[in-house]
Amino acid sequence: MIVEFWGQEFKINIIFGCIGAFLLAIVASMFGFGGGPFMVPLMTVGLGLPMYLVVGSSLTAIFFNTVMGTMRHYQFGNFDMTFFLIMFPAAILGGYIAPQIAKRISPLMVKRVAVAGLVLLGLNLLGLY
């Protein structure tokens, strides 16, 4: 498939991309996360697309998964309204505050903190400490 973006053309293997996206979507909807951080490498490394094309398009792709996953979770009775109403305003508020903070701190620092935090949380879930 040929992807056109701002006057540039990229040739990609869409079959590979779709299989990857399909598998990612199963895991993401099963465990209830969006999947952006996996989608971006799939598109950049897997399909060889540049970052500036991927940021918006990957978000569009995972949104489909989130909507379908939400619908299906609701159908299986996994949705709790009260809980949603507690978290939803906080998530929206966070979305407004974050860009204000983002201007003032280095993204490299955030990534390093995130790596440490993710490793700790991951090991905790595996019951290693």
Binding site: E4, I14, F22, L23, A25, I26, V27, A28, S29, M30, F31, G36, P37, F38, M39, M43, L49, P50, L53, V55, G56, S57, S58, T60, A61, I62, F63, F64, N65, T66, M71, R72, Y74, Q75, F76, G77, N78, F79, D80, T82, F83, I86, M87, F88, A90, A91, G94, G95, A98, P99, P107, L108, V110, R112, A114, V115, L118, V119, G122, L126
Partner: protein, 438 residues
Amino acid sequence: MITKKNVIILVLFLLAIGSYYIQPGEAQDPATPPQSAQPETAAAPSTPGADTVMVPPVSVAPPAPAPAPPPAVTLSIDKTTVDNGGAVTVKGQGVAGKPVFLEVWAEKQVRSSFFDSKPDKDGKIPYKLYLTHALPASYKIYAPKDKKEIFDAYKAKGSGWAYSEALKEMGADVAYMAPSKIAIDAYQSTIMASIIGSRGEKLPDLDDKETRRRAMQLTKARFRSIGVLISPSIEQNADGSFTAKVNIPQGAAPGKYFIVAYADKALRSQPAVVENNIGFPMMYLSNAGTSLNIIWPFLLTLAIGIFGVLMGAGGGFLLNPILISLWPLPHTVVAGTVMPTVAFSQASGIYNYSKIKFINWKLGITMGIAMLAGGFIGPKLTELITLDQFKFVFGWILLILAALMFWQTTPGYMAKNKKEQAILTEFKKRAEAAAKAK
């Protein structure tokens, strides 16, 4: 050439088909308690007079001494209400020489599911899913103190302890009554059914014995730890009298709690009722069966929402594992509620990128359709795994994510990224200028 419009129509069509798939039987319906969890109370004390009435009145003998009343089990409690949990002292009279057990359960009901994937006696794996909406939101059996050794032995087994065996060995299975008659739906799961996102064929209703057995598995699936389900803490004297502290934990469901004492299956007391009141900011999550102080999840979501945007990963990666670690929430409810929460931040992101024409719709929607299919299958799999399996897989996902993030902090990636970020900024500027010019 596929036009944008055609693709959008196709997507809407697929969504419409997807929504038709909702089977009425599977739709969310937590409001109907199919069966009350309250057992019929024993009519033991009312019978003794029956025989004597039938004795003919002409009898010359002096009136027969009234037959000794059958041993009765009684109990009294020191308070009838608690605020957001608390201890209730239970005093009562059991039967001398027989251990006494207390069954404590909440009136509120929750959902529980259990996937039977252990090989049976013939080595065949049943792959059956059991599901109930009527499990008490809180459940505990208190046993005499001298059962502590058995309790400790089962506790040492970790998460693999068997609830039914532990109850039997303690003799406490006589007190397992409230959940033993709940309505349970059974489904025969198959790989094919999982692929098309269905629970599988619904099996005929379970008989009483099977219901009791599966109810125990569902109880264990919901409450997991032996410390939550059993407490060997009743002090019983030689004459059968006993005292115990029934603890309704913080964060338990509000509403009525029933306490019944058992000496054996037929010999039980009338239920005592304790009301658990919770007030703002505590709120009860009816689907999760837990009350919590809403300020904490709010602050947690806020913090993770901010951090998620900064690190470039949606909140779901952090929110899910932290929520299940901090509160006794079922992983199904957490996954099913976090997803719609992140949907809105994704939508606002898409809106912002689309304003500056920064989305390639053809690519996004093509991959999106593949994800639509995946998203159809995934949520059904959530209820097939236990919380421990959920944690295990999530742990690995987070480690992989950490590796990915680490790679993004390596110098080689940073240099490449710097170039691309410069292009991105340049494009954004041009796009914004173009948008303004219109």
